[in-house]
């Protein structure tokens, strides 16, 4: 006897349930839908007489959604209401939260690892060279305030140009589906985070530049400190603005090649 499998309509119904329980992104829904479908099919192998709704009723209870609050399955399947009644979060909420947390942690780890590479061979040669060049610029310049303002301006101009001109043109993922992906939303957010980081960086450079008059730091110490700070912040801006979206794009293409237009 053939084992009973879920039909496409039933699978669609499972996606609708996820959607109605605040799990809006397809990359998070896939796992939940497959898991629920596996449980239902396992139930059918023992109790083949169960209808889809009956099997789903049992699974949703297991997932922390209490179907008894609803008079009919119809309202249960489409309403997010049960999760408001139950005190503890449903499995839907737990999985959604953990997935969001995972993305932030994953890319923060990748970013830290890549930033660290700039302080190891061979990239450290580039880092030291930039620090040295900036240090020389500060030394040669008669007025450090001018160099600081130029650096501050460069950070802002480059980041604005990057966010509005370069990013939309070179860092885009074209999809062949209308599904929403959490990974894509995270990818898009890097475009805006680069702006806030650049504003923060330029202000920090300006503040440290003002230290000479405020704290009376020695000239050589200040020049070196500014050169190191500007280099480090430049590396951070590059890693978040260029390296991270590239990595996210690669990860997305590896995970979901069927949804990418090449």
């Amino acid at each position: 006897m053939n084992e009973r499998k879920l039909t496409e309509e039933e699978i669609d119904q499972l996606f609708a349930i996820c959607e109605n329980h605040e799990v809006k992104y397809f990359d998070v829904q896939i796992e939940l839908v497959d898991h629920i479908a596996c449980i239902i099919e396992a139930k059918w192998s023992i109790e083949p007489q169960l209808s889809f709704d009956e099997a789903l009723f049992i699974v949703l209870k297991q997932f922390g959604v209490d179907p008894l609050f609803h008079a009919s399955y119809g309202s249960l399947l489409t309403s997010p209401f049960p999760k408001l009644i139950l005190n503890k979060p449903s499995v839907f909420e737990e999985i959604k939260k953990s997935k969001e947390k995972e993305l932030i942690q994953k890319y923060a780890r990748i970013q830290r690892k890549y930033i660290a590479e700039f302080f190891k061979l061979p990239k450290i040669i580039l880092t030291i060279s930039i620090v040295f060049i900036l240090f020389l610029v500060y030394k040669i310049a008669e007025d450090n305030q001018v160099v600081t303002l130029v650096l501050q301006g460069s950070f802002l101009v480059v980041s604005v140009a990057f966010s509005w001109l370069i990013f939309p043109k070179f860092f885009k993922i074209e999809l062949s589906t209308s599904h929403k992906f959490l990974l894509i939303e995270y990818f898009k957010s890097t475009r805006y985070s680069i702006l806030s980081i650049a504003v923060f960086s330029s202000n920090l450079i300006y503040l440290v530049g003002r230290l000479r008059s405020l704290a009376g730091l020695s000239l050589i110490g200040l020049e070196l400190l500014l050169a190191i700070l500007a280099t480090f912040l430049g590396i951070v801006v590059y890693v978040i603005g260029v390296y991270t979206p590239k990595r996210i794009k690669e990860d997305f293409e590896n995970k979901f090649p069927q949804f990418c237009i090449h």
């Binding site: 499998k5 497959d34 898991h35 596996c38 737990e94 994953k106 780890r109 979901f256």
Partner: protein, 107 residues
């Protein structure tokens, strides 16, 4: 369950079995432990996501019949982590054994 043992169970299982999907992991654990250990979805997926974020697991998706399925595999870092975690777990069991039944010797 001993704190941290779920991650160890998942990593060890993936090291032995190769790639697996979420439901398969729950069923495998249930079968191996003869129903003694039941991993709930609310515990399994957050742990899988955490291990993925930590670089211990990688994920690939595949079309199975009419639905997509996510498969988890252990990474090189994950394999190294299994060795450390297993040693930690064995030491914990040994210490518990010594504490609770000092007269029984473990092999």
């Amino acid at each position: 369950m001993y704190k941290g043992s779920l991650a160890t169970i998942i990593l060890k299982l993936l090291e032995e079995k190769g790639r697996m999907y979420g439901y398969q992991i729950t069923q495998e654990v249930k079968a191996i432990s003869a129903g003694e250990f039941v991993i709930t979805e609310g515990a399994l997926y957050p742990m899988l996501h955490k291990l993925e974020a930590d670089g211990m697991l990688t994920v690939e998706t595949e079309m199975i019949g009419n639905r997509m399925r996510k498969y988890y595999s252990i990474t090189h870092d994950g394999k190294k982590e299994v060795v450390d975690r297993m040693a930690e777990l064995e030491a914990f069991i040994r210490h518990m054994q010594t504490l609770l039944n000092p007269n029984i010797e473990l092999a």
